[in-house]
Symmetry: C2
Amino acid sequence: MNANASHDSIRAVQWHGDRLHLLDQRRLPAEETWIDCTSSDDVTRAIRDLAVRGAPAIGIAAAWGVVLAAMHGENLSSAMATLRAARPTAVNLMWALDRMNGRVSEGAGAAELEREARAIQDEDLAANRHMGELGAALIEPGSHVLTHCNTGSLATAGYGTALGVIRAGVANGQIEQVYAGETRPWQQGARLTMWELVRDGIPARLIADSAASHLMKDGKIKWVIVGADRIAANGDTANKIGTYQLAIAARHHGVKFMVVAPSTTVDMATATGADIEIELRDATELLSVSGTRTVIEGADAWNPVFDVTPAELIDAIVTERGVILKPDEEQMRILFP
Amino acid sequence: MNANASHDSIRAVQWHGDRLHLLDQRRLPAEETWIDCTSSDDVTRAIRDLAVRGAPAIGIAAAWGVVLAAMHGENLSSAMATLRAARPTAVNLMWALDRMNGRVSEGAGAAELEREARAIQDEDLAANRHMGELGAALIEPGSHVLTHCNTGSLATAGYGTALGVIRAGVANGQIEQVYAGETRPWQQGARLTMWELVRDGIPARLIADSAASHLMKDGKIKWVIVGADRIAANGDTANKIGTYQLAIAARHHGVKFMVVAPSTTVDMATATGADIEIELRDATELLSVSGTRTVIEGADAWNPVFDVTPAELIDAIVTERGVILKPDEEQMRILFP
């Protein structure tokens, strides 16, 4: 079917032997522009400026940044420190750099680092496909589902986390209709998720983030399915701003709530969500649209870009290691000892 | 204080003896442009095209439309029918036209109709000031509050409904900080409420609609204060899309929820919220920003612009007749027999 046919069509992070090509996600859906990264600084800039986004994709891009640094004989410690500082919330970035640093410490050369980065990328894609099957198996046939932000091919090595479950669920007939929240202020749902869903021929409708509860009221939505930027040891999950509000609305309506993320997103060193630092970004992201001021001069805004959903509002955390139902610290320790 | 000094500064609906001037709310905050209405058709167009918005302001504008029709010797029944069809959800529009029609039936001439329209406008302003005091009396000193959409001077004859309570609460020191949700897709909170609050010197911050729950988590927000487009006999309240979601989030966090609306918004002929028709608007409102397409071609959207908050999630309905705590049909009948 359509959804199956084009699963593999988008690869937003592409290695070309001596350079990294990144699909510039800031310009989608209007333009498909590729950024040519030939140094680790190019990669740092792309991560910091949000040309590449999505926790897994950021980690993969950073790994390739280390390869570029090695090829050009840069100081690897310094290159890795710069890459690490590019985005604070996504734990996958730290994980990928730790893994690359492990090989660097063993004295790996550029060719070995290239193999390591490719392994990180390939493993992410394989993890997504496996999570897609595990998550879709939880969904009853004919379901409508709601997702938030972008967790698809664009945010990962390919296929996607939450969107991977949706792709698998649509392919198997469990999911009949997908709704995507706009995801203010960056509109990842409007710009990116709808772009992926329409390209795949998946029945999808965009909604204002504020319309989610009204949508749930008629009982057709069975699951809210989202990704994660960091999962604490007790299952508390940091994700795009608005996720927590969806989890509250879902519980109120008896709608189930699924978090889909590779094990690299789990941070057992962070006890609970209270220990996760939430990135506050500039007020101007809310005060302007496409560079045009839309709010009166002198106005202030509060712009947290992530929030924490407590584990008690989550029905299932899906990782490539398996599914954790009704997550708490004890359940988490079974898969993440 | 600052907030007191400028309370009366904005009058978005102004009668000038032979013409109605309407502040074009579609162009705020970038431009303060006035629309010159010299016929009832001009007024119908302004209501339908959202140049004037807010349930009370729509009713007042329509009353002046009847005056213009009478001055020009138009067929009054036909003019009123056209005005009535301009927006379906706001019950105040129907109420104002019924009241004008009552005078028309008694054989009132243009001068008498002009007095009636002025009475409607003056009574709305007086009602708002009274509701402001009643609502503010419910709020504990030092509170932070959250509002949605625009319910201020722009949406009424002046002062505002929910924003009137906020103005009164700020003036009396009960309210220390105001947060306003953007209110997608029309951005009434971003464009209009922030415009009013900044002009009044009220401490205010804009948030993404999806950030409301994260904001409530730290316990500083004491009340969510909103307006209404229609209140059913049991207290169920139709208001801007996103209101219902805020009510669910408020209950989850122990934050109180206040609806502020003149008695003309109460429709005792509508038994419950299930009987209120929700206006669905064109998908393009979500698919484009300022006329520029932001979502992939071929994408669909679901764009309900109101939702219904059930009475059990409402702590107080404030009208100029008094306050209804924990509204239900019995409580509503005390003030609306």
